[in-house]
């Protein structure tokens, strides 16, 4: 089954992710896929969850932190600026505290906490995670293409949904127990009603957002996760390990796409020994990929004559990938 078939046979898919080690072509494939879907008349948003995003480079347009930027008809691209997202978020929290208690300024201790929390290493990822939820909950596009971070980080990103989920379930439960005591006291005192627990309401809101996000990551019908591999031993081994880990997080793996395949016509040409060796080595690894991954391989993409940047090259690649 080709990549095109995969998309045509699963019309309910809305979330497409390309993952793999760094530098194998995740961004390139994300851009080409987005281009192809957009040219099929679908409204597409391709966005990056990588703090070192490269959509700006591939589309040759500065889109960092500018929200969804229109690239062409039906195609938008977005790079999330985690820093400014965190700054806005801190601002909202501060404003809420000032409004709720009529303070002139945030008490020093609280301000320290806001600052310290924002310096946590997980903060940036969390902010991006939250920004992605914003994008998805809005639901304005037919397709969302995640240009993911390299493998290790992607796992962290995926596991974050799970960690959040467990954390929030525990504290929500505690909060609900507290609520029971409150209702009991109200009953004993024969008060008709108790005040709304604003924290519980807030927890429910957070829970809803996390569930929306982790639900998508594990939704077999709506989500497709593709691994990008190249015919090299270490990459194949690493990808297999990563695939096992991803499976543990119930991420639906839709297939593998092999990138950087040297053109086969080189075999028949009189090429230098160096290239001959590379070709022979690659044939070996391609066989290995075919044996171990079988029909899970959805496409082979050749090494192009130049790197993929700019819409013309993206179009060319989209034609190779999707016919």
């Amino acid at each position: 089954m080709s990549l095109k078939d995969v998309f045509e046979k699963n019309p309910n898919r809305r979330y497409i992710m390309f993952g793999g080690k760094g530098g194998l072509g995740k961004t390139t494939f994300s851009a080409a896929t987005a281009y192809w879907l957009a040219s099929q008349g679908k409204k597409v948003l391709v966005f990056s969850v990588d703090p070192q995003a490269s959509l700006t480079d591939i589309f040759q347009k500065d889109i960092f932190g500018k929200g969804p930027v229109k690239i062409m008809e039906n195609l938008w691209a977005q790079e999330i600026d985690a820093d400014s997202h965190i700054k806005n978020y801190q601002g909202e929290i501060r404003k809420k505290i000032l409004d709720m208690y009529g303070f002139d300024q945030i008490p020093e201790e609280i301000e320290d906490y806001i600052q310290a929390a924002s310096a946590e290493p997980a903060m940036e990822e969390s902010a991006i995670f939250d920004a992605v939820v914003d994008i998805i909950v809005e639901g304005k596009y037919d397709y969302y293409i995640y240009d993911l971070v390299p493998l290790g980080h992607a796992l962290y990103y995926l596991s974050m949904a799970k960690v959040y989920d467990e954390w929030i379930n525990k504290i929500t439960k505690l909060r609900e127990e507290m609520r029971e005591y409150e209702t009991m006291v109200a009953k004993i005192k024969r008060q008709k009603e108790t005040d709304e627990d604003k924290i519980l309401t807030e927890l429910m809101y957070i829970k809803g957002r996390i569930n929306a996000s982790s639900g998508i990551l594990t939704d077999k019908e709506k989500t497709a996760f593709f691994f990008v591999v190249v015919p090299e031993e270490m990459i194949i081994l690493d990808t297999q390990k990563a695939a096992e880990l991803f499976a543990k997080f119930d991420v639906p793996i839709a297939g593998y796409v092999v990138n950087r395949v040297l053109p086969t016509e080189l075999h028949t040409q009189n090429v230098p020994a160096y290239l001959k060796n590379r070709l022979a080595m690659q044939d070996g690894y391609l066989d290995k990929i075919k044996v171990t991954l079988g029909d899970q391989v959805k496409g082979f993409v050749p090494e192009l004559e130049r790197d993929v940047t700019g819409l013309a090259m993206i179009e060319k690649l989209a034609k190779i990938m999707y016919g």
């Binding site: 809420k96 709720m100 924002s118 974050m160 127990e177 004993i188």
Partner: protein
């Protein structure tokens, strides 16, 4: 915590007697119960702040991003919470 409800004006006559009886019964039977429940509720509130805002007293807590969303609601409780965290085990424990 729910705000103090405004006091209902005292009725006179039989109704007033009934009201008084009701309050006496409440005081004898239920006051302790509700006080105990409120104390438990307060302990849980402090436990909750510890779980979500532990960073404030140096207990690292994951993940801080969504904790910040809850921060505005616990602002008034932070002072008593800190006091309580320090008081929980003190010398007087050994005396009783």
């Amino acid at each position: 915590m729910p705000d103090e409800k405004p006091k209902v004006e005292k009725r006179g006559g039989l109704g007033g007697l009934f009201d008084n009886m009701k309050e006496i019964m409440y005081g004898m039977a239920a006051h302790d119960m509700s006080r105990y429940a409120l104390r438990t509720r307060a302990s849980m509130e402090h436990l909750f702040i510890l779980i979500t805002m532990g960073d404030l007293i140096g207990v690292p807590i994951l993940p801080p991003y969504y904790s910040l969303r809850l921060l505005p609601y616990v602002v008034p409780n932070i002072a008593t919470w800190k006091r309580r965290m320090l008081r929980e085990k003190d010398v007087s424990d050994a005396m009783f």
